[in-house]
Symmetry: C2
Subunit: 282 residues, 2 copies
Amino acid sequence: MTKREYIISQIAKTNKKNYENYVVTRIYHRLNRNDLKFMTQQYVNRPDGHALTDMYFPQLKLHIEIDEPFHKKQKKLDINRESDIIQATNHEIHRIKITEDLTKIDNQVESLVERIRKNIEIKERNDEWEPWDLEKEFNPLYFQEKGYLDVNENPSFRRIVDACNCLGQNYKSVQQAWFKSKIYPNHNLWFPKFYENDEWDNKISSDGKIITEKCKDKDKYESWFNSVISNNVKRITFPRSIDNLGFRLYKFAGIFETSIDDSTFENGIIHKLIQTRIEIIH
Amino acid sequence: MTKREYIISQIAKTNKKNYENYVVTRIYHRLNRNDLKFMTQQYVNRPDGHALTDMYFPQLKLHIEIDEPFHKKQKKLDINRESDIIQATNHEIHRIKITEDLTKIDNQVESLVERIRKNIEIKERNDEWEPWDLEKEFNPLYFQEKGYLDVNENPSFRRIVDACNCLGQNYKSVQQAWFKSKIYPNHNLWFPKFYENDEWDNKISSDGKIITEKCKDKDKYESWFNSVISNNVKRITFPRSIDNLGFRLYKFAGIFETSIDDSTFENGIIHKLIQTRIEIIH
């Protein structure tokens, strides 16, 4: 996917919502920077629950909400358990209000654009600015150079093999969702699906802190349950999801540890988030 | 309709065509002038026939064509005889080519925007610039002050009564499509439908120069035919059409004169364009 395709696809997600399309294109074209990534209609997890954000700038942790007071917006959360949901704790939300007078909308956009420009300038001055680079963003080498994965930065990979190799597994291709780490003692790499499928019924809480794991094969259940409880291995977890343009994504969700106290034979095994950051050893 | 509603509706017409939406919004937002009117997907009549224009600036007589070489654009002309078609002889056409590299598209838009700005500056300097004004554009008083109607400027009215009063009829309301002029001797004001209806099957040629008129009532046909031929009155013609946003429009099409030589009992009466401009006497 090229930047052209990416940007056109993001804008296209607003194409039935005329005011959203107006504001999103105006922000984009007035900013006139193609080193600034954005998503439209991105699911986010905020302290008060899941929401859909009209425009999201990941480099700035900034969300734009477009409010249409005269025309109640249907914000049906068409979310499913496969949807990519970004963690948005401590992110900023900026509101653009759709008013009767177009000039007032334009003025709000102009102030926002000015603010974003200043924000980027400050980041540049502090050497904190990372231009959007399609080649880098899902590239294991980029994260290896960076030296860590942090849940707050929503680091993601397009393929399981990329996440594995980022953490030193050195594979050519993979066919499973579970790997013993070659680098981190007593850690596994785990690529779960948090939506029910033939073999598993696994869930993650909306705050991303608690995973419930349940094997669906009744014949294997007991041996599976006992082996997980006894092994007690930490899990470097990359849930599988589908991003807002429909592409597969494995996003780092943190390191989880099995909670023997909370797990029960009836309800399944509970894993709890113990680290949101992992240093990349290489 | 406010400017906000107008602009949003024009942009909305591009909402399923992602590249068109990108380019149209970019041109609009980069120009950043709300005194410049535009239409999207406007039918035009050019010397080589009817066409659909991607973005049209009536004040500049400028049309933007968005070319997608890698993705053959379906330009089905969904035209019907009720569609508003503007005369675009001597209008300029500017092409924006969709390229693989978004920067190259942006650069083309930037050059265009620069050109349009200069164009407006020149018009302002020469006192030829008329800012877009929703209050004026269909207002009979505006045209009376201007002093004429000219086909090349596509002057239009929303209601029959407005066109009548612009030309001195002084009505409160009207219920017909045909009026004897109080001002212009031996002229009638005519508001025909150029699509078949219960009573009439009237047509206008695509170059706007020849009207064929046919009464559909067989009992009245002969007396109608003979009376038109013998009266030989000139017709100040405002065909009824539907504009690109779905609103009714009566656009001045010129003054027509009955051609006795070309009219036949079988094929109907032929009227020929004799003047594209009328001076407003008041």
